[in-house]
């Protein structure tokens, strides 16, 4: 019997796949490994210890930066997800109309604009606003993060909505559900995994941002990534490895939680 075509049986497939995985994960594995280094040096491994983790946890600057990062990411992700949900509903829960593609393009444009351009634009813009209002709190960072998180939240929500039968809402309306009840009992429960995915993605993206944060932040508003960048400019210690490892752990946790929650609801 002739075997059906499968890309997995092509010559060299395994080699290429392994090479890709190596390139992706080897540096991270090294980083995680060295975060357990007992010694001071990055070059030699002097036995296993948790001293750099302890050091990181005792470093007030790290703690402050982490809390600030989580604050910004939570706010930004919540607001961005709400905005993205509304945008996705408006662009998919209707019969296609002229100009719809243009709207998709507008919503996704931030993905195409070089981040550095946005960063410079925001720096100049917020500098003006700061003079006018006198306010210089975290609001600017939250606003900036919200803005660039919207397209990331929008994509999974829209994908979810596009796979949803438009007649479901018609059926609900037909069965005496007001527009609000239709949303509450039909659209929202079905959309929930998409919203969650959008939120997670926005959260991780915000947590991770360096460029825009670096430009927008005022003095003493370091987030964890910008703090790390600042430290590394001076000297690289295994403490950075430990912080990175913790960061990685948080990211993996977020994705795992999302995966589990998403699998339960089909």
């Amino acid at each position: 019997m002739a075997k059906t075509f499968s890309i997995r049986r092509q010559r060299g497939f395994t080699t290429i796949a392994m090479a890709c995985f190596f390139a992706l994960y080897l540096p991270i594995a090294v980083l995680v490994f060295y975060s357990f280094n007992a010694g001071e040096s990055l070059a030699s491994f002097d036995g296993i210890s948790l001293r750099w983790f302890t050091k990181a946890f005792q470093n007030q600057q790290v703690i402050d930066a982490s809390i600030r990062s989580l604050q910004i990411a939570s706010f930004a992700a919540v607001v961005a997800t709400i905005a993205a949900t509304m945008a996705a509903l408006a662009t998919t829960r209707t019969e296609p109309y002229r100009g719809l593609t243009l709207k998709y393009a507008f919503i996704n444009q931030p993905l195409m604009i070089p981040e550095i351009v946005t960063a410079v634009a925001l720096l100049i813009f917020f500098a003006r606003v700061k003079i006018w209002t006198g306010y210089s709190g975290l609001g600017y960072l939250i606003a900036a993060h919200t803005a660039f998180c919207i397209p990331f939240a929008y994509l999974p929500i829209r994908a979810r909505l596009e796979n949803m039968d438009l007649t479901l809402e018609k059926a609900a309306a037909d069965l005496y559900a007001t527009p609000w009840n239709t949303f509450r009992y039909v659209t929202l429960p079905l959309l929930w995994p998409g919203i969650l995915a959008g939120f997670m993605l926005a959260f991780v993206i915000s947590l991770d941002d360096v460029v825009i944060t670096e430009f927008v932040k005022s003095a003493g508003q370091d987030t964890l990534p910008t703090y790390m960048l600042g430290q590394i400019r001076r000297s690289i210690t295994p403490e950075m490895n430990a912080i990175s490892t913790l960061f990685l752990l948080l990211s993996v946790c977020v994705v795992t939680v999302f995966f589990i929650v998403n699998r339960k609801r089909v």
């Binding site: 007649t167 479901l168 018609k170 059926a171 005496y176």
Partner: protein
Amino acid sequence: MAELNAVEIRQVSKIFGFGEFAFAAVDNTSVSIRQNEFFTLLGPSGCGKTTLLRLIAGFEYPTSGEIMLNGENIAAMPPFKRPINTVFQSYALFPHMTVAENIGFGLTMLGKPKQEIKDRVDDMLKLVRMEALAGRRTSQISGGQQQRVALARALAPQPKVLLLDEPLSALDYKLRKDMQIELKRLQAETGITFIFVTHDQEEALTMSDRIAVMSSGKILQVGNPREIYDAPADRFVADFIGETNFLKGRISSVTGGIADVDTPVAGRISATMPQDFHAEGEVTVVLRPEHATLCPPDRAVANQMTGTLENVVYFGTDTHYHVRLSDGETLFTLREQNKPLQSARFNQGDTVGIALEANAARVLRN
């Protein structure tokens, strides 16, 4: 006083698009649907039947005209306020709810008490014979079962009118036959007016009390299945409902509703005239394929034609013959019922005669 019609469509138009792209999906149409009637909108795809249904359901609003439900104009009422429910072609069952929750949805939205909803859902499950599957997700049941749930869900709130949008088209032949009988039973048991949309003429003929045949946004004929089949109003209806043979001819005389028509291919044929129809000169005569039989070409019978047998198609219950008539142009179709152990009486290429049954021919109203 005559009973109020369940639904009355009064000069309703639905125009999509603007300017030169404007297109009337429903074109100044009027029709009355009686109480407790199984009414079918029949027509090819794109004829406007689904648009008309959506206008009644409230998913579209008419460009002009009135839609009366038991005497009240509902043309501008949103769908969730209309006491009308729909069975969708795709069923549109809520995938995140169980079978029972789906059926109870309408009643829940109407704010009925919990116990009443539960009782009604149980009744509905019994009505569609789905008691055992109440707790299942809709993704875990078969297409036929989904169909029943969709029906039960639409019937549960006891609507004044039930709309069915080609609900059987996704089912296989055998299941479709069962559901046709099932639908008739449900309609009789619930006493609800059914408006059924289909492009399947057989479905329409077997199930309906009355049929409206639609084409290009207009209703061409309304009547019971027998009227529609036996006395089609025009060429479109005659052609769309069942197979039909058309013969051109010239009326020579009319006596007592029977016209003698001279046809180039079959000589003089006596054909029934439609009521209140007077015509002279050129007319078209229609003949159903089952109202003619093949015979040897030399038999001298009235109403007989000859031709060459071009094609024999075996259908199990009957056999279809396609005969090229002596003018070399017209292809005449006949249908004969198959008898036990009967072998083919005629073969491809044979010269055959066609004997028409009495009263088989009918003059077409243009």
